[in-house]
């Protein structure tokens, strides 16, 4: 019997310039392939990772922001965004990519995976996890 643990990945850095963001996404997909209970948090500059309309043509790098749209198919549908981090950067939920999943238990209705939460709420969610990994 496989053991399922609650994994939370904390994304704290912007997409490019360092490998943290893309490596985090890679590990997230691996955890999902092993059918773990995975959630993601976007804090600090990490909120830039899921901003809508990214274009990497000018820097010659892979635009892996598209990969976030695949997370729903991997049953990853708990994406928490820090409300404070958004506000500090002059961003709002409307600047974020519409990331969705299909709810198996609700006739495959398309639902949003994104939840904007306060840092206090995030703290509570983090304390429920078995493992938190910071990137």
């Amino acid at each position: 019997m496989a053991i399922t643990k609650k994994f939370m990945y904390l994304n704290r850095r912007s997409s490019f310039g360092t490998v943290y963001a893309i490596e985090s996404l890679e590990v997230v997909l691996i955890a999902a392939a092993f059918e773990q209970d995975v959630s993601l948090a976007f804090i600090d500059d990490g909120v830039y990772q899921i901003v809508e309309g990214q274009n990497t043509d000018g820097i010659g790098m892979k635009n892996f922001s598209k990969t976030f749209h695949a997370l729903g198919d991997y049953d990853i549908n708990k994406l928490y965004i820090s409300k404070e981090s958004l506000e500090e950067r002059g961003l709002s939920e409307s600047d974020i990519m519409p990331l969705v999943y299909e709810d198996e238990d609700d006739d495959w209705a398309e639902k949003s995976s994104i939840k904007v939460v306060s840092n206090d709420e995030l703290k509570a969610i983090m304390s429920e996890q078995d493992v938190c990994l910071s990137f």
């Binding site: 890679e26 997909l29 691996i30 999902a32 392939a33 092993f34 892979k62 635009n63 892996f64 598209k66 990969t67 749209h69 695949a70 198919d73 991997y74």
Partner: protein
């Protein structure tokens, strides 16, 4: 480094530069694995290439199966059908033929 039709491949036979892919390479890879490509194989290969274009990743088998079921119907979106086409695994072998990287989380 090993080559197929002039394109470099890694030690597991995956293309080093994904832009090198063409049908000739795909057919040669299949021939080396004793697989004769049919319309049904191409259906899955085209699907994998479209998936990669859209999401920038090679899907895990579980995800691939689900996605094919959604797009091409349940008779094709099941592992029995996919393994009958790609005996070494629709993820590993299928992605290699399609010129994709090895699926993330694939052992």
């Amino acid at each position: 480094m090993a080559q197929i039709c002039g394109a470099e491949v890694d030690e597991e036979g995956f293309l080093v530069d994904l832009k090198d892919w063409n049908k000739e390479i795909c057919i040669q890879m299949a021939k080396d694995d004793d697989v004769e490509l049919t319309e049904e194989h191409w259906g899955v290969i085209d699907f994998l290439r479209d998936y990669f274009e859209e999401y920038q990743i090679a899907p895990a088998v579980r995800v691939l199966t689900k996605a094919i079921a959604k797009k091409m119907g349940k008779d094709k979106g099941n592992s029995k059908y996919l393994y009958s086409l790609f005996p070494y695994g629709p993820g590993k072998q299928g992605c290699r033929f399609a010129g994709l990287p090895k699926p993330t989380g694939c052992i």
